[in-house]
Symmetry: C2
């Protein structure tokens, strides 16, 4: 009988490399310390441009293959010019992107071939918070819902288990559901 | 003596409209209920594409002037192809974008002309969390730091007060520093 370490399906995720990284970082935990960065420039009004270019980890500095740019703005209903998504919409997208990466990785690790994965995300927000109308209303979302449509070679129970495992290991899901210490200062 | 309701400086923010909206929503709080949305499609491997197009609020459905697209991926050090920023970098950018919109709005409301505003954001993450190596390490950031460089017609103390007020009213700052209920399910 022949055994193999490589997954039997290809979703484009290199699971063998991820498992090797896990083993390497278990042996050298200081290499697991990463620092992610972004730089945001105000352009005009509510409009800003964020650039993501470098990060550190595995004991070294790294540069992305290219700089990634994300514009943010406010819509016309707020008397703005709608030159980008709002920051809260961008957060919803990051949540779904993080969970979706997890779905692809977990599915591959479990030998499940994916045909299509789509997530729709909704976040409810009462603007009485950010406008300072009611001090009992928070600035952020009162609740967020992510719904997946997944077409894959697996029974529904297995697809649900894949989504649940992705949620368990998602950085952005953790960031939204648990508090993080954030400091803001002026140089 | 003549008084005027319009701010004496122009940073491109329509503060008069924002103050009018605040007054209108104080009188009709149900119109303050917004729902923000995003839709994420898995493309291949760890690569996904998020589209932001419509939202509801002020008792109606709205469509952005154009669909905004954000690609997300993982870098080559994780055996991926680096076709977009990582979801956690996108969250850092959304935080800085949200705070920067606030800085421009608060500065305008206080009559402070901005010349330039730049935020650099760093988020520390120990990958032993998302890789499942150490159950005591969280998946998200252990801490986030935002640092502003602001060139404006105002003393340092006033600039610091503007940044502090922006933080107090920031939706994304609230989302990161306080927990939100997030549900994830399969359609």
């Amino acid at each position: 009988m022949t055994t193999t370490d490589t997954p039997t399906v290809d979703n484009g995720v290199n699971v063998a490399a991820l498992l090797a990284a896990r083993e390497a970082l278990t042996a050298a935990p200081e290499a697991a310390r990463f620092q992610w960065r972004a730089r945001t420039e105000w352009i005009d009004g509510t409009y800003s441009r964020t650039t993501v270019q470098d990060f550190s980890g595995l004991g070294a500095e790294h540069t992305h293959r290219q700089a990634f740019v994300i514009d943010a703005d406010q819509p016309e209903v707020f008397a703005s010019e709608d030159r980008g998504a709002t920051p809260v919409e961008i957060v919803l997208g990051a949540l779904a992107a993080c969970l979706t990466t997890g779905v692809a990785s977990v599915a591959t690790n479990r030998g499940v071939k994916l045909r299509s994965v789509t997530a729709t995300v909704e976040g409810d927000m009462d603007l009485q918070g950010i406008l300072g109308i009611d001090p009992d209303v928070r600035n952020g979302f009162s609740g967020v819902r992510v719904r997946y449509e997944i077409d894959a070679d697996a029974p529904r129970a297995e697809i649900e288990a894949i989504v649940a495992q992705s949620q368990k290991r998602s950085a952005v899901f953790d960031l939204l559901t648990n508090p993080t210490n954030v400091t803001v200062d002026v140089a």
